[in-house]
Subunit: 268 residues, 2 copies
Amino acid sequence: MESRVTSENSEEIISTAHAMADAARLAILPFFRSDGLLADNKATAGFDPVTEGDRAGERAMRAVLAAHRPQDAILGEEFGHQPGTSGLTWVLDPVDGTRGFLSGTPTWGVLIAVSDASGPLFGIIDQPYIGERFEGGLGRAWMTGPMGAGPLNVRGDRALNEAILFTTFPEIGDTVERDGFGAVADLVRLTRYGVDCYAYALLAAGQIDLVIEAGLNAYDVQAPIAVIEAAGGIVTDWRGRPVHDGGRVLAAAGAAQHAAALEILSSV
Amino acid sequence: MESRVTSENSEEIISTAHAMADAARLAILPFFRSDGLLADNKATAGFDPVTEGDRAGERAMRAVLAAHRPQDAILGEEFGHQPGTSGLTWVLDPVDGTRGFLSGTPTWGVLIAVSDASGPLFGIIDQPYIGERFEGGLGRAWMTGPMGAGPLNVRGDRALNEAILFTTFPEIGDTVERDGFGAVADLVRLTRYGVDCYAYALLAAGQIDLVIEAGLNAYDVQAPIAVIEAAGGIVTDWRGRPVHDGGRVLAAAGAAQHAAALEILSSV
């Protein structure tokens, strides 16, 4: 099925995405740093917390779509897939970075992407506690936050030894993946850990050069892809291929950083 | 020399500290995420960035002290020691977490402590971009932020296998220190990395259980000590001794976590 995004409906798609982000903020924030926040364990091994905040956020976003764009499909982390008829799919992660959320750290985010068969067309990375929103696609690359609003632009080409690298490692990935990451980390100027989707927002905002991750799902990566590409950056897998279905992710602020990191990661 | 903190002047000390934090916000924020931020390298080996933001922040705080409490001594990260006559010393780190600052991550902080010979009496951890302030000592334990204001209380006793641990590791510490940290990390529920002084604020705010660090200076730890102790927590070195002069730090939200971590770390 072919999607139909035109200049007429692209504004409606964007405004729907913002309404979803607004609704998710209201739904999720009461759970952030609340006493007695419950964390179920949905994984059979390891720690994969799902909070009421996640579920409330996704319900709120699905309600906005039911009211405004019932013809679109939905793929959400918490409540799975709902088919549609428009050729467009909303890909939702209500709380990306649940571990950060459970720790009170304000670097988790609400991820909203709208995609067709070719990948994400528009995305939002929203940080409700700080009140920051990063959006990209359909002609936009923009952020709003505590210090005002402005365009998103990646920092551009830079040598690896001048680059700032972010990752969720050492918390995720298998040994081989960690070694691949480590080989890049050995060559960069500065490596930082553990801020989840916020790292992609920082890359789109021109603050950092590289994000390297593994084991991501489509709903973890589609909004970052839309925002970063709109800001002028590059997002692929560790072989240089499209990564909107998830997996091992390499995001870069310029072709130079991307090529240099890819040369190392492609041998993993 | 004996310090004289009375009910009369403790309010003045607290209001001076807030005026310093306000001045630091105004001085530092223009440099946060600014284009072309310069990072000098003051270390002969490794990466130890000092930005204009650090220097502007400390200058602004020293100006407040010169106007309101010229009798107090000052120990600041950027501009060193200035003697005083009151027996009180202000211990200042204008940007704790410079690497986070340089990366655009909003988990750096302004650290302000006022101390006598026994250690810190009052402290502030301020996050200017988010607009969050955590304060403790002289009868106060309080935070203000995007969701309003309220008292600071640690979460209290909890078993190690239910604990959330934060650290700057793997970025700092020598091999022995990293192994000690790792032995505790193996036993906790969740370990998170790299948010600098913000981890101490999260501990005081009842969000997490343990912070383990090494290689800290007095100006890195005195404000966290004041805030955490006021909120009911415990901060010592890895032998259980006072740590306001810096070194290896163990901060805990309850006696149970502190004792369990100390049993492991004290053998390092």
